[in-house]
Amino acid sequence: MSLLEVTDLSLHFALRGGLLRRQVAKCRAVDGVSFTLQPGETLGLVGESGCGKTTLGKTVVRLLEPTAGRIIFDGCDISHASASQLRPLRREMQMVFQDPAESLNPRHTVGDLIEEPFVVQGLGSGAQRREWAHELLGRVGLSADAYQRFPFEFSGGQRQRIGIARAIALKPKLLICDEPVSALDVSVQSQVLNLLLELQREMGMSFLFIAHGLNVVKHMSDRVAVMYLGRIVEMAGAEELYRHPRHAYTKALLDAIPEADPALRRPRRLLQGDVPSPINPPPGCAFGARMKHPLYPQSLEMDLSLREVSPGHWVQPCPCCT
């Protein structure tokens, strides 16, 4: 059984303006997204800023309420569950954020921060919580004296370890990692990536791993989904996606990565223009519209749901991009 089953999920924000606060536009942050996640599996989510990957992550764990579609987590339909219905499930799904400096309360000691999830869930006595916190500190590679110190006393990489300790405190089944290493130095990134991989192996967690760099996502994932303007345009096994990209947008993302090898210098097929806005996106295939592809008009008439082109490899079937 899948741990997570997301079907046709959409989240649209109304943008209001004018004197009467009428709806002037609609932001389709997430627009008809479907995927599943197995226990212990990592699904990578990649795309440019504004493509909706963070919103999708937050909606999946119900920090946001979807406009349409279904989220089945561990057999439970949580699409429209209330806060009190969600509370027991919060133990099972946690998030790691991009900027640990902003997601850790600066006035709390690291000990308080790591014990907070136990306190919220009413678990353990004071002494037990203290012991658990020390175990967690050791597990994420921080020394015991971190317990009474404050977040600002730590470097970015260490703060991210604190964030991870907090997120795994309740042994969740699902961890949403939202750009967990983008703010870190190169030599520290690999440490944090390794820590996440080790924890996943030990605890059997599933990850939804969100990042804008395809090399990091590919390294961390079993499968990768490529998002463009609120929609998944391609989804496949990590190796398969990198070796046989089918959608023009996936190819463009791969092509943009600067490889650390001067022998691989090549003329790039540059994407023109900026990352488009999800506010009133073009109908049909949004990437075909950005490329002004001659076959783009055909996508207006089509059903653009993903099709399986080879086992486990799903692509949006627009004629302009595949």
Partner: protein, 332 residues
Amino acid sequence: MSQSPSSTDLLALRDLRAGFDTEEGWRLAVDGISLALQPGRSLGLVGESGCGKSVTALSIMRLLPQPHGHVVGGSIAFEGQDLATLPQAELASLRGGAMSMIFQEPMTALHPVRSIGDQLLEALRLHDRQGSAQAHEARVLEMLQRVGIAGGRDRLRQYPHQLSGGMRQRVMIAMALLNRPRLLIADEPTTALDVTVQAQILELIADLQREMGMGVLLITHDLGVVAQYCDEVAVMYAGRIVERASVQQLFAKPRHAYTRALLASRPRLEGKPKTLLPAIAGQVPSLRDWVSGCRFAPRSGLAHEPAWTQQPLAVVEIEPGHWVEHCPACLS
């Protein structure tokens, strides 16, 4: 690249030392670095945050934050002129003229409540007092078009907040290049941008470099960017340059343990998913923990004599054009 400055160098740093007065006393941020850049070439300066790469750039431009930042030793020669001793008035005419700089976050470098046309025209007027207003506007429009900003005159009336991050960086590039500089310093010009936009901006800089023949000092933390866009590379760690060479030499045969570790710890597209990366243990030492000798040896995981962290190290040329800080523990 040679250790001693030659007369053909566009830019030559020799034993540059710079730092800051802090509440805890004097802190060196750049500790005796030497490098040279020839006209029309591009040099990548790579390193992690706090290694001193931006302080190096600001020292060259004499833009260290005042009153706390100072260059305290060495020389900075731009076309043979020592910038460290140049009077402010002459510096001002060089900055934005013969040498200019683009920054990581254009939103903080552009004036938020002046139109971009205003700011671009000012940059031009400062260095060309003779030209007519029409001639200036024509040059600004031409440059905007060159950096890929369509929309002509209407653009001049826009404000920075009305543009996307990529567009703002293009405006910064236009501004930096208006006076056809011979040296461009680009400090993490694409770090805040998406990979796709990063590729556009770096290609644009490379095109303009070829067109105008300027030398580029590209500061970045990304070895991939260096491999794709630079001729030469210098790797900085804790205020020192630990290795420098042509990109071909450095990527084919990295000799310093830090360079090797940086390259190895990078998730690669060809790598196998979900395998542990050869990570570098520990973290970059903070300024107050800098030792006089090798600052990377304690992290290198290689057997090392504590003595190597205590005595100053020489930078040696181990093959023509390939320089390495000579720490016996880190050199291979």
